[in-house]
Structures are given as structure tokens and as C-alpha cells.
């Protein structure tokens, strides 16, 4: 009897092991805790909510410049444009608001989401283009101003709301989270940098003239007006620029890898306030 019981236990253990391996052994809750502790231990004097302000939370001089710039925020034009676009009906008479809960107001903190139907991560940008296509309109370029304006307006309506990303009880959702984590920590480009090389290992340090932002809360400010661009940029534009800066060929806007890394980083930022649209040097 005891022997049978031992054999049965061994079989259960053997069956469970490949399952854990298939999931990449991710434990989002434990990783969230470790990620948060890493940053709060490294910057113990920084208020938790201040991490969303990126380089301005790391450098006093930059912070003063930012406060001065924000008296007349350079992203204001994008918010106005996005608001007008958002309210303008499509040719069929429907609007963006018809595609979102609460008519699209104050919902940015819930994106990205895992979509059970497609088995994919859906960012706010993708949801907006899905809305356009469902209503007979052409999708916008994920790296250009129209998408930046729409997401700037939607982020603005969510300002201060805590990021609230869920990973549903679905192995595909956990796999997407794990792929995002893998992308974040994988070195790439001729310079052999990962996202984490800058934003985990070196936040607050300079890379040439730039002060590196912490990874914690880095998605909360998206989209951003970036002085180096002289204009607005979407999350995809920022990720593509990061790739190029390490001499890696960027992926297409909102490619699976970019959506998954946004999912991972946004989950890590749960509870931190939306600060987008943001300004960056």
C-alpha cells in the first residue's frame, strides 16, 4: 500500500515538473515584490509615487528644469489634438468612446490587457487601432503623432489613477508575461545592452548626457514629449529608439515582444499613478 502511494506521488511530481518549466517558472506576485524592493532599497529616500517621473526623480537639476517646462507643458498640443480626435465620430457615426468601458475616459491604467480571444496582449494603442478597424477606418501608424495624440488624451484622463494590470488565470497570459520579462532582461544590439542594463542596473547614472530612468513606473508616463525628438512619441517609438541606441535593429511598432514587455513592466508598476503624458529630455 505504502509502495503504491509512493509511486503515485512520484508520478504526480513528475507530471507537475514539465508544467512549471513550460510556464518559464514565473511567479508574478513574488517577482513584483522583489522588483519593488530592489528599487525602494536602492533609492530609500524617494517617495514610491515619484518613480513614475523617470529621470526627474533621480536628478535634482533635471527636476528643476522639468518643473519650469511643465508650467507650459509641451504635450498640451497633443492632448488637445487627441481630445478632438476622440470626440470626432467615424464615418459610421460611432466614436472611440464606443469601443471602451466608461466611454474611454479614465481607463488607461487598465492597459495592457490579456485578450483571451486572441491569446495576445492588447495595449491601449492596439485597442485604439482595433476600434478604428472595427469601424471601417484605417489603422494609425504605431509610432506617429496621431496615435501619440490619442493615447496622450486617454492617459491624461487617467492621471493619478493607480496602474491596475491583471494576469488572468490563463497559461497564455503567464507565458506573455514571461516573454516580456525575457525581452526585458535579454541583451541585444552590438553594444550588448538589455533594457535592464540601463533601467535596473543603472537608474540615476548618466549615459552620455542622459540620466537613466528607473524601470519601476517607466510605462506610467507614456506617451511622452521628448525634447530629443522635438515632439511626441508612443511607447513603440520609445522602445524602437532604445533598440537603435544599442545598435539593434528595432522591431515593428506594437510587435508581440514590445506588447509583452509593456505588459511585464506595467504589471511591475501596479499601484503607481499614471503620470502620462510625460515630458522627457
Amino acid at each position: 500500500m505504502l509502495r503504491k502511494l509512493l509511486i503515485a506521488l512520484a508520478m504526480v511530481a513528475g507530471a507537475a515538473q514539465p508544467l512549471l518549466a513550460a510556464e518559464g517558472a514565473s511567479d508574478p506576485k513574488a517577482e513584483f515584490k522583489a522588483f519593488r524592493s530592489y528599487f525602494t532599497n536602492r533609492f530609500p529616500k524617494l517617495a514610491l509615487d515619484d518613480f513614475v517621473n523617470g529621470p526627474y526623480s533621480m536628478d535634482e537639476g533635471l527636476r528643476k528644469q522639468w518643473k519650469a517646462i511643465d508650467e507650459f507643458p509641451p504635450y498640451d498640443f497633443a492632448i488637445d489634438k487627441g481630445k478632438a480626435m476622440f470626440a470626432t465620430p467615424f464615418k459610421n457615426g460611432k466614436t472611440y468612446g464606443d469601443c471602451f468601458p466608461n466611454k474611454g475616459i479614465g481607463v488607461r491604467q487598465n492597459y495592457p490587457q490579456f485578450d483571451a480571444k486572441s491569446g495576445q496582449v492588447i495595449t491601449l494603442d492596439v485597442a485604439l487601432n482595433r476600434c478604428r478597424e472595427a469601424n471601417g477606418e484605417q489603422p494609425f501608424d504605431y509610432t506617429k503623432d496621431d496615435m501619440a495624440a490619442l493615447t496622450a488624451y486617454m492617459a491624461f484622463t487617467s492621471r493619478g489613477k493607480p496602474m491596475d494590470i491583471t494576469i488572468p488565470d490563463d497559461p497564455r497570459a503567464l507565458a506573455a508575461y514571461t516573454k516580456g520579462k525575457e525581452y526585458f532582461y535579454t541583451r541585444r544590439g552590438q553594444l550588448n545592452f538589455s533594457c535592464a542594463s540601463c533601467h535596473v542596473q543603472n537608474p540615476g547614472n548618466h549615459i552620455r548626457t542622459e540620466v537613466l530612468a528607473p524601470a519601476l513606473g517607466i510605462m506610467n508616463a507614456m506617451p511622452i514629449y521628448r525634447s530629443a525628438w522635438g515632439g511626441m512619441g508612443t511607447t513603440s517609438r520609445r522602445l524602437r529608439t532604445c533598440n537603435s541606441q544599442v545598435r539593434g535593429v528595432p522591431l515593428p511598432g506594437e510587435s508581440e515582444e514590445y506588447r509583452d514587455v509593456e505588459y511585464y513592466l506595467s504589471y511591475m508598476a501596479n499601484g503607481l499613478p499614471i503620470s502620462g503624458p510625460g515630458t522627457r529630455p
Partner: protein, 104 residues
């Protein structure tokens, strides 16, 4: 004495000429080098891990070949192949190494 010197010079000149002819690259040499580079680039593309410098080297190789400068073209194509192989090695190495960097 003078004849012997002339013979020596002639031999040296012919050896030098032969050597030059031996290293001068042809259009076929460029095509072969470009094909090897293209194969490596395709592999890097499949791994979604291309380097921007690889494309730049291939562009330079093509420009040199178009101008008939095949030595230069071969050199750039070989550089592109080496860069593409570097990115392939990086991708394969990182498949194993990335978990070591995760914050725990």
C-alpha cells in the same frame, strides 16, 4: 653584374605582380562573400536579433561592388558576415543567460 641585377628585379616584379593578381577580388568573389553574409543575416533575422551595423556593412559592400571596387566590397561583405554571426552568437548565448539578470 648588371644583367644579374636586372634578372633579380624582373623576378621580384613578376612575383609582386603575381601576388597582386592573386589577392585582387573579382565580382564572383564579392558574390560569394555576399551570399555568405546574406545567409548569416537571414539567420539573425529569424532570431529577431539583427544589429544595425550589419546592414550598414552590407550597404557599403553593395556600393563598392556597384563601383567595381571588389576588394573593398569583399571586405565589407566579410565584415557584415562577422557582425551577423556576432548577433547570432549573442542571441543563442542570451537564451541561457537572461534569467541570471532577473531581480529576485
Amino acid at each position: 653584374m648588371r644583367t644579374r641585377t636586372l634578372i633579380r628585379l624582373a623576378v621580384l616584379a613578376s612575383v609582386a605582380g603575381f601576388a597582386t593578381a592573386a589577392v585582387a577580388a573579382s565580382a564572383d568573389d564579392y558574390k560569394a562573400a555576399a551570399a555568405k553574409a546574406d545567409a548569416a543575416i537571414k539567420q539573425a533575422h529569424a532570431l529577431k536579433n539583427e544589429w544595425t551595423t550589419t546592414g550598414a556593412a552590407m550597404k557599403a559592400a553593395k556600393a563598392a561592388a556597384d563601383a567595381g571596387k571588389f576588394d573593398e566590397a569583399v571586405k565589407h561583405a566579410q565584415e557584415a558576415e562577422a557582425l551577423a554571426n556576432g548577433s547570432i552568437a549573442q542571441a543563442k548565448e542570451q537564451e541561457k543567460l537572461w534569467p541570471d539578470a532577473v531581480v529576485r
